[in-house]
Subunit: 147 residues, 2 copies
């Protein structure tokens, strides 16, 4: 409940009306780390919110991306996937299980950022730097860990 008012705040902070579909979709994304598709989200939320249509989920996701509250993640798979983690981080994508796992390493991101800060890049304003590591889990059930 306190959570929901926090979600509402986030929405109005970026100038969006705190409508029911927006609150539900954003909350779902902020409390899951599985990078769901629009359809995944619809499936999950419709149990408690049967009136929210799939079309609205798509529209809400577009608006949230546009507002910078969530981001789209593109992988090989068919559908676009969504992520409410807006801190800098990379994605580990498993081609076997189709799972996406966030990862962040301060040292690595330090290196990459420093590289682009030092280099002269002509005719381009950098928005974001995306790092994606593709491969396969050995044990599909287990998480990947970077030590």
């Amino acid at each position: 409940m306190g959570e929901i008012s926090h979600i509402k705040e986030q929405l109005s902070e970026v100038g969006l009306k705190a409508t029911h579909p927006r609150i539900v979709v954003l909350q779902k994304l902020m409390t899951s780390h599985d990078h769901p598709t629009a359809e995944n989200i619809h499936e999950t939320i419709k149990e408690d919110n049967p009136s929210i249509s799939l079309g609205s989920v798509y529209r809400v996701l577009d608006v949230l991306v546009e507002a910078g509250l969530i981001q789209r993640v593109s992988v090989r798979s068919g559908s676009k996937r969504y992520d409410a983690n807006m801190n800098p981080h990379g994605h580990i994508y498993c081609l076997k299980t189709n799972r996406i796992q966030d990862f962040y390493d301060e040292e690595l991101y330090g290196l990459i950022n420093e590289f682009f800060r030092k280099k002269k890049i002509r005719n381009f304003r950098i928005n974001e730097i995306k790092l994606q590591v593709n491969g396969e889990r050995i044990d599909p059930e287990d998480d990947v860990t970077i030590i």
Copy 2:
């Protein structure tokens, strides 16, 4: 002409029949650096090869990717795009023009590779590491250069 026999060799080296659509599509990709979509490729080649269908272009692209002769590049834009540059490299994607430009820097790739070689990654076999820099060109007509 000597080019075409080189293309045919590449195809048979990976065990693919050197059919006309495959030769034409692969040649187009190897001589362009604009990361075209399936439809772009079809448009370009159909002037000289009116019988090659769009469906076949899609099938040929799938086969070439599967064989490791080309790679798919996913960006925000609607369609998948293709790249015959199989050397390690990153992509600079301009949201304004939708253009993709390859880039490679030995130092940066050295850092990233060394990072992943040194770190212990549990439960994952890395296939490829993708680096994509999103942003906007200042002059949409001009190339981006990294010095």
